[in-house]
Amino acid sequence: MASLLLSAAPMRRHVGLVAGALFLAALLLASWFLPLPYDPIRPDATATLQPPSAQHWFGTDSVGFDVFSRTIAAAGRDLPIAFGGALAAALIGVFLGLLATTKGRGSALLMRSLDAFQAFPLLVLAIAIVTLTGNRLEMVMFAIIIIEAPRFLRLVRAEGLAIREARFIEAAEVIGAKPLRVLLVHLLPNVSGVIAVQLSIATASSLMVVAALSFLGIGVSPPDPSWGAMIQAGARQMTGGQWWVALFPGLAIFLVVVCLNLVADALDVILERSSR
């Protein structure tokens, strides 16, 4: 009885991981390879603000864009930016975080300045930076790094400090391992689990940032589809009752974020369990 319960719990977690990952992969592959019913960047001026129907599954917007085609196509833009930004933030944050596990004035100073920096409304800062540097896409990534990298840094530092207390690190230092070697060979593999979990969470929150920026028209070049920009296009229609223009891209964001958090939860449980 007890053993049955035990084996059932992680199975359920695997379901979350597999379902979440499959949905994300399917969405991404569809946006790249699936023949879409309509051209996502060429509107049909004769069919504006059509409600969802057999012709237009998600309806059309005020210009005549097919909402379904654009919702799928936007995944191919928004997801790579969000993931790329999160990955870059991870690389920088993990590197600085590992360095911050070493004792000394430098690490204390780093944490103090991080406190001050994170006290800032970072989304506002990100918006200002992207706009001032000419509204370029790569600056959206930079904005994501500013927001997400400190979180990786804190996480890796906290985990790293806990692991440093462990015997084997002490042993490695006693037998004369170089500090860099200790960081890369002994610390990094032991924090890789939490990094993977955080990467999933960070991708979700980067997607929200990307959506917020493109909702404000920042970092997008029309008519390229982006979920945030599509919601902006549907914002005016909401008071008139044409809910579909904004709802479907919004639903896409919702589902992707839920899936990413599902993956993060599952990874968390699986890695935690295997390490004990």
């Binding site: 103090r112 006290a119 800032f120 409304p121 000419g134 909702f215 008071t239």
Partner: protein, 367 residues
Amino acid sequence: MSTTNTEAGDAPSPASTELMAPAVGAPRRRRAFWGLVAKRLAFIPLALFAVITISFLLVSIMPGDPALAILGSTANEQEVATVRSQLGLDRPLAERYVTYVGGVLQGDFGRSFFTGQPIRDEIVKYLPASIELVVMAILLAALVGISIGTLAGYCRGRAPDKAVRVVIAGLEAIPGFLAGLLLIFAFFYLWRLVPSPTGRLGIVNIYPPTVTHFLLIDLILAGDWNGLRSTLHRSMLPVLTLALAAIPLFAKITRTTVGGAMGSKQIQYARACGLSEWRVVQYALLQARTPILTYTAMLFGAMVGGSAIIETIFSWQGLGQWGLKAIVALDIPAIQGFVIVTGFCTMLVYLVLDLVVAALDPRIQHG
């Protein structure tokens, strides 16, 4: 920044034999607290300085040329040079920095490129509306988030906890602006429960004489109860929208800390003394108080960013909407003023909550 030095409720304290005179701690504690206040107040100029510097660097050492960004890539060199000199970008960095900091310290944030108005006047005009929005939203989010978080933490692992976790996960996955639009669709279009999401006061209402710049307070001072009702009615959706984004954060931190407290020796002892479950929950919340307050400060920065977008959706006429407009229009003095004010406000909130935490916890050692 944080000076909280509390012991976890469970940690076994070293018990010592010496009979310390007990209550001499009280006046000494009070003196130490005011010492901490003084120390924190001394920190304000430093924070202000840091904020001004960040806002200056934002325009000055960012990759890319603001002048080019303003004019677009079609501009010729002559035009770019003109704008650069207007912005003062042709002068050396150090000189510009000194001029800028000197100006800001005298309350001179420059004039808007587009309206020609002094930035300071615009800030005074728009900031109060944003404060009203954020404060109302934080209060609502704290009320709801702490309530459901307490419920979940108290019933950890059982049905109410699972339900709250689903709600949290759902709310976390909805971008604030989308939630705002969905609420507008439901409450305005479908059910006609709220007036149209434009502005803070109905067309028939007259704005009260400006006294404090806080619309709600000015309406009360003017005794305009109809106007007050109208404003509150119109505040419902924006406040709810902004609160929805913060509810999961309050709920999560409360769930974790209350859940942890429920398993603590302190709560077990409270139960062993026969205290009612209400009292037990109150004790658990007392334990959770410090983390929740610390977290609220961190949340504030996120709320300011989020409110900028929500204000735009609802035409709230606050600092966030004004700042976003400035950013999109590349109104550089306005952007700098916006960054300074929002950054400084967030730091002030950190400071105040730090002091509140210190004042509430008798165990914290000040200094």
